[in-house]
């Protein structure tokens, strides 16, 4: 951790944590610019953008609906001395700018043999928001994880999002920052003083001994609820939140699995070739012999996200599915 244990902690919402983080980086670094206006999606938290705009209006730009154009604008601005935070709003829209993200931003530093850097942050609201249907519910982080050159931060608490924003803006690389709108109202303690939370340091959100649950973004919250239920069944679950998957705190994940011998990976992206697959494969490779049961993945089913509420609920990783998966690995034994 970059800062000493904080003195005063206050409970605020995740959205407030975002607003604090954005405001603080705007205050502290005059290279920071905000491109876009949907950091808080279409939730009532949008008013927070208005407050930020009141103070920093001249450093906020609402671009046209031209993702290729304004993401590319962010890349060039970063190359030439600004620290843009580009908001692509709903994660599904990033596919409109995909070539700029994966062909340009991700490759610049490498292709130039280290001559040029792209210190920009790309923000999206990802995931199954509730009746977003198939074109407003994406979690593109799995594809970006297979794209070297982009760091990926997936905060799950007010403290994490606020602290990771500081690290993201200070980082000289493109950083993909995905929030989940269902996190906005989650509350948690945040220190008064400014705190930068480093990338690549996982947070054990709950300690346990029987089974490790590695979860990302909003799935951390759900997994913590599951851990409570599991405790009721006498199962002690450890919830590990990587917070960033690029870089990934491999040691923290492997240490936990080595301790519990069982792993459930919870991620809201599609199951096939998803974030959970990479984590499962990595753990199997590295600590195969300490696994006492097969790894279970709890992820969105491999269908586009349907609109109808009962269908959506059936597709997404629910509390019940996480609990069932953990119980299943507890019942299984290596033959």
């Amino acid at each position: 951790m970059s800062s000493p244990e904080p003195s005063v902690m206050r409970d605020i919402t995740y959205a407030e944590g975002m607003a604090r983080g954005l405001t603080e980086v705007l205050e502290r670094d005059d290279r920071v610019r905000l491109m876009g206006q949907y950091f808080f999606g279409l939730t009532e938290h949008r008013s927070k953008t208005v407050e930020i705009r009141k103070r920093f209006g001249d450093r906020i730009w609402d671009p046209p609906i031209a993702e290729t154009g304004y993401v590319g604008t962010g890349i060039g601005a970063a190359i030439s001395g600004l620290r843009p935070i580009v908001d692509v709003a709903t994660a599904s829209f990033i596919f409109q700018a995909w070539s700029q993200v994966v062909n340009e931003a991700a490759n610049v530093h490498y292709m130039t043999g280290g001559q040029t850097s792209v210190p920009m942050v790309i923000h999206v609201n990802h995931g199954i928001r509730g009746r977003g249907a198939a074109q407003h519910s994406h979690s593109p982080q799995a594809a970006l994880w297979n794209t070297p050159g982009i760091k990926i931060m997936l905060p799950s608490s007010p403290r994490d999002v606020r602290g990771l924003i500081h690290t993201a803006v200070a980082d000289d690389n493109p950083v993909f920052w995905a929030d989940h709108v269902k996190l906005f109202d989650v509350t948690g303690p945040v220190p008064d003083e400014v705190e930068a939370i480093p990338f690549g340091v996982a947070d054990i959100k709950r300690e346990g001994t029987d089974v490790t649950i590695v979860a990302t973004s909003y799935m951390v919250v759900r997994s913590l609820e599951a851990a409570v239920v599991l405790a009721g069944h006498g199962i002690s679950a450890e919830v590990v939140d990587p917070r960033t998957i690029v870089p990934l705190d491999r040691d923290a994940v492997l240490r936990s699995v080595a301790k519990t011998g069982r792993l459930v990976v919870v991620d809201e992206g599609h199951r096939s070739a998803g974030v959970a697959a990479e984590i499962a494969a990595l753990v199997a490779e590295e600590v195969f012999d300490s696994l006492r049961a097969p790894i279970r993945r709890v992820a969105a089913l491999d269908v586009p996200i349907p609109f109808s509420p009962p269908l959506e609920a059936f597709v997404e990783p629910t509390l019940a599915k996480i609990v069932a998966a953990a119980q299943d690995v507890m019942d299984r034994r290596r033959p």
Binding site: G132, A133, A134, Q135, H136, L301, P304, F307, S308
Partner: protein, 328 residues
């Protein structure tokens, strides 16, 4: 009066057109109410105030022509003859919905009446419509494709790429820009220096017309000319219809970014009122308002029964969820 599950064709009589505009208005007001009660959820974009463009354009097409719509598509769909019951059922996520509850408001689709699909991606439907026109040209058949899109789409790359290809290949397509002055929450002037989206059409040698979108007859005539020219091998045509949405960008949008004066100006230009007045002037409607009263009542009755029917329909079962990912 024509059945509202039919496309309004060029021969449709004025009262049928007025009735269809009223059906759409009543439908969207109902949808808004159901949203307020939490019966309809999700992201909902209403086109109240833009009925003139939807009905004007759709009524200038033939039944076999194909329409590709936007995220604000209820009016486009109903104007093309989509069954209001199945549309409502979709909005409330029922199995009897147009898309069996998988699409929702932004992804409605009814190919059997030539309403191919809507899209949740701004500008995303324009290349699709170009492709349908290409298929007609390659086959060939005498269908015309029509793409609705907003002024916001005018700043997307796909829009420009599409104009270029449509012109190069002289495709049978009508591009209808519903210029309501706002791209989501932002006035057009904050998104481009180009005042009229139609300007870009002429860049690619595409004939364009700009019309009063709140005048259903003006839209119908312009789109009619465009469609027949395109059908006759004349290549693409562009119609920019200037209009205004009387609601926010989505249900729940406080729309603080707009002046009240602006709003009331446009209320005065409500396409339904204007067409009613015109028909009265032409003597097609009695001044006492009995006919118009009957039309409005009929529209509301139709929407109420559609609502009941939709809500009585079953919700999907969990195992429906894995169907329709691939062709079986």
């Amino acid at each position: 009066m024509t059945d509202d599950r039919e496309a309004l064709e060029p021969r449709a009589d004025p009262l049928a057109i007025l009735a269809r505009m009223w059906l759409i208005r009543a439908f969207e007001e109902q949808v808004s109410a159901l949203y307020g009660k939490g019966i309809i959820r999700g992201l909902l974009h209403l086109g109240i105030g833009q009925e003139g463009v939807a009905v004007g354009a759709a009524s200038a097409l033939r039944a076999g022509d194909l329409v590709f719509a936007t995220h604000r598509a209820h009016a486009h769909a109903l104007a093309k003859g989509v069954d209001p019951v199945r549309l409502l059922a979709e909005l409330v996520g029922r199995t009897t919905g147009l898309c069996a509850g998988k699409g929702g408001s932004m992804h409605i689709s009814a190919p059997e009446v030539g309403f191919v699909t809507a899209t949740g991606i701004v500008g995303g439907n324009i290349p699709l419509a170009i492709g349908a026109a290409y298929a007609s040209r390659a086959r060939p058949d005498d269908r015309v494709a029509l793409a609705f899109f907003g002024d916001g789409a005018g700043q997307t790359g796909s829009f420009h790429e599409s104009l270029n290809i449509a012109s190069l290949w002289r495709l049978p397509i009508v591009l209808v820009c519903e210029n309501n002055g706002y791209a989501e929450f932002t006035p057009l002037s904050a998104h481009t220096n180009v005042e009229r989206i139609a300007t870009h059409a002429s860049t690619y040698g595409i004939e364009a017309e700009t019309v009063d979108g709140n005048d259903v007859v003006a839209v119908r005539d312009a789109v009619g000319r465009a469609a027949e020219a395109a059908r006759g091998g004349g290549g693409p045509r562009f119609v920019e219809a200037l209009t205004y949405r009387l609601r926010g960008h989505y249900e729940g949008d406080p729309a603080k970014y707009r002046e009240l004066a602006e709003l009331s100006d446009w209320r005065a230009k409500d396409p339904l009122t204007r067409y009613r007045d015109r028909l009265e002037a032409d003597g097609l409607l009695d001044a006492e308002g009995t006919t118009i009263g009957r039309i409005e009542a009929e529209a509301r009755r139709r929407v109420d029964s559609a609502t009941r029917e939709a809500l009585d329909a079953p919700l999907p079962a969990p195992d429906d969820v894995t169907r329709h990912v691939y062709a079986s």
